[in-house]
């Protein structure tokens, strides 16, 4: 039979062990700056992360283009990514392609992040837009603003940002638009993150990072109204070979910068 004092000692020990187990190594989740995420981890192709948001949609035209959730090339630590497949790009003056769209309802300034994966080299005939920002004119009509494009350079892939307002590429940081631009890896995930501040004066700003490295920093007027749209797309003109495939994953809009090491979900 156990003596009472021994029982008491064991009880105290049990209490302390329980307290230590519950008190140590805790994570205090103090909240999030992430306003929108799309991780494509639901496994289906209904894209609820985009479609359940006001102004959100996915689209693919013409009939040969597709958007599907694929586990072929997923971005760790997830299991799935979105596979954007486009065909019939020759003479694509209508801007057809595969798109995820958020039309309006976005903050006046935020960081927009998305991961991309090119499974193979693609020759870009005229353009290949993979991220877009659109604005609304004073009459309330949506208009093009900035297009982040893939291009060919130095035997590989690179980036440029087309400014629809001026009809030119935005200058790259430390150089000018005529340079070849940064290298885009093939068969590797890379992150593009943009900071967009909507203002019709010089307080507006558009900054773009590639894997954490700033490549574009544009200060100046952006949109004349608070309305802004953000698209993660694959829209090309004269891409070869076809179909041109682009994987997309872990799209996010955040009040603070995500960066290559940031988390958009716990």
């Amino acid at each position: 039979m156990m003596r009472p004092n021994a029982t008491s000692k064991r009880s105290w020990l049990a209490v302390w062990c329980l307290a230590l187990a519950s008190g140590c190594g805790q994570d205090l989740n103090v909240g999030s700056d992430v306003l929108f995420t799309s991780r494509f981890e639901y496994g289906g192709s209904s894209f609820p992360e985009w479609r359940s948001v006001g102004g959100g949609a996915n689209a693919y035209t013409p009939a040969g283009d597709t958007i599907e959730v694929s586990s072929d090339e997923f971005h760790p630590p997830g299991k799935f990514a979105a596979k954007l497949t486009v065909t019939g790009t020759a003479g694509n003056t209508a801007g057809n392609g595969a798109s995820f769209v958020l039309n309006g309802g976005l903050p006046s300034q935020a960081y927009y992040s998305s991961w991309y994966y090119l499974p193979s080299y693609v020759t870009v005939g005229l353009y290949w837009v993979i991220m877009k920002f659109r604005m609304s004119d004073l009459a309330g009509n949506p208009a093009e603003l900035f297009d982040v494009n893939l291009k060919n350079a130095n035997g590989g892939m690179s980036l440029r940002v087309w400014d629809h307002q001026t009809g030119t590429d935005l200058p790259l940081v430390g150089t000018d638009a005529s340079t070849d631009g940064p290298n885009i890896p093939v068969e590797e995930w890379f992150q593009l993150e943009a900071f967009y501040r909507d203002a019709f004066d010089n307080s507006g700003r558009f900054t773009l990072w590639l894997d954490g490295q700033k490549i574009v920093d544009y200060p100046g007027a952006t949109g004349p109204t608070p309305w802004v749209a953000w698209d993660v797309v694959s829209v090309g003109d004269n891409l070869t070979p076809e179909p041109a495939i682009l994987y997309v994953d872990d799209c996010a809009i955040s009040k603070s910068r995500v960066g290559p090491t940031g988390l958009i979900a716990k």
């Binding site: 805790q26 205090l28 909240g31 992430v34 090491t261």
Partner: protein, 361 residues
């Protein structure tokens, strides 16, 4: 140890070279017993209002200095003399203080705050009496003086039944101390230490390790139970929220620690020093200030606490104290935010300081 060449009387009462401190037991019990013996004379003296006064009026020899001197407020020299003449015949006192063939000496009393010192005929003793009951101190000092000057008069208390004491035939030489059974009947010389100490005061607690050291102001409440030198202690602190930053995430932090342990006290003449060792459990709440979707999670911290303090030495009532503390948390909670991820960990060490009042009950 007994000083060589000391008399039997000195050895019996434990006098040594220099000063001997009486701490409630032992020797004080003897003195208290003798106080009881002299109690009747004291009462009669009070009734007749003939307690006597120092100086030439009281000793009856004009020109002689005061028999009890000293800049003491508690006890007053007068009060000691009033007690003394109820215990020993006045003539004995004067003749012994003068001494055969020696210059006249006085009884010296010094007020040391929580203690007082009595010097009689080269014998010195200090008594600890934190409550500063001056009448009681006067009785104790008079007893000590009577023991040195004329212990025989104390034992033959009949001489002083109707104070002022009647003159005795001649000063008696020192005799043996009272029988041992008197000691066993003696009451405690001083009131016991408080059973409970309740401490309250404002505090400042700072967490070390965060980017911005959050300074929490608040109040401390601590409780000790027991009269021993090592007693259990229970404490808590109510702290106001403070702003801090962790990994670039601005936070509003709130904390409620509770600790349970032991306190060891080292009593001193004026100051009691103490040290504490405790287990600490704290509730910690963090709220992000700038995030788009903030949350206010609450976590638990477990660790150890070390405290050091000092308190004005008093038997009861209010006494000021100061204390320092350090809490060590081996595995503090982590703070997580999106999109940053792990922002960092809350402090491993919390330092605090407190100034307040201790209430002995």
């Amino acid at each position: 140890m007994v000083r060589r060449n000391s008399t039997d009387h000195e050895a019996a009462f434990g006098y040594r070279l220099g000063v001997r401190v009486c701490r409630y037991q032992g020797q004080c019990i003897i003195a208290a017993a003798l106080l009881a013996i002299g109690g009747r004379a004291y009462a009669a003296d009070d009734a007749q209002g003939t307690g006597g006064t120092p100086a030439s009026e009281s000793n009856g020899v004009p020109g002689l200095p005061d028999p009890v001197v000293g800049a003491s407020l508690c006890p007053l020299p007068d009060a000691i003399w009033q007690e003394l003449v109820t215990l020993v015949p006045r003539e004995h006192l004067i003749s012994r203080l003068r001494g055969p063939g020696k210059a006249y000496t006085s009884i010296q009393v010094d007020d040391l705050g929580a203690m007082f010192r009595v010097s009689v005929l080269d014998k010195v003793r200090e008594y600890r009496e934190e409550a500063r009951e001056c009448a009681y101190r006067a009785k104790l000092a008079a007893l000590f003086a009577a023991l040195i000057i004329d212990p025989a008069a104390l034992l033959s208390g009949a001489l002083c039944e109707q104070p002022p004491c009647l003159p005795a035939p001649a000063p008696s030489p020192p005799v043996a101390p009272p029988p041992a059974q008197v000691e066993t009947k003696a009451r405690p010389a001083l009131p016991p230490r408080p059973l409970v100490h309740l401490e309250l005061g404002p505090t400042l607690v700072v967490g070390l390790g965060a980017e911005d050291r959050a300074a929490h102001w608040g109040g401390v409440l601590r409780l000790t139970l027991g009269r021993g030198r090592v007693v259990p202690v229970l404490g808590t602190a109510g702290l106001w929220p403070a702003e801090t930053s962790l990994g670039g995430v601005r936070l509003r932090q709130w904390r409620l620690p509770v600790d349970l342990g032991v306190r060891a006290t080292l009593p001193g003449s004026w100051i009691d020093f103490y040290g504490e060792l405790s287990f600490v459990l704290a509730l910690l709440s963090e709220r992000a200030l700038d995030l788009a979707a903030p949350r206010s999670p609450m976590g638990v911290e477990l660790g150890g606490r070390v405290g050091l303090g000092a308190r004005l030495a008093r038997r009861a009532g209010l006494a000021p104290f100061v204390s320092l503390q350090a809490e060590f948390l081996p595995d503090p909670p982590s703070v997580f935010a999106l999109p940053e991820g792990l922002a960092g960990r809350t402090p491993y060490v919390w330092m605090g300081a407190c100034v307040g009042v201790s209430w002995g009950i």
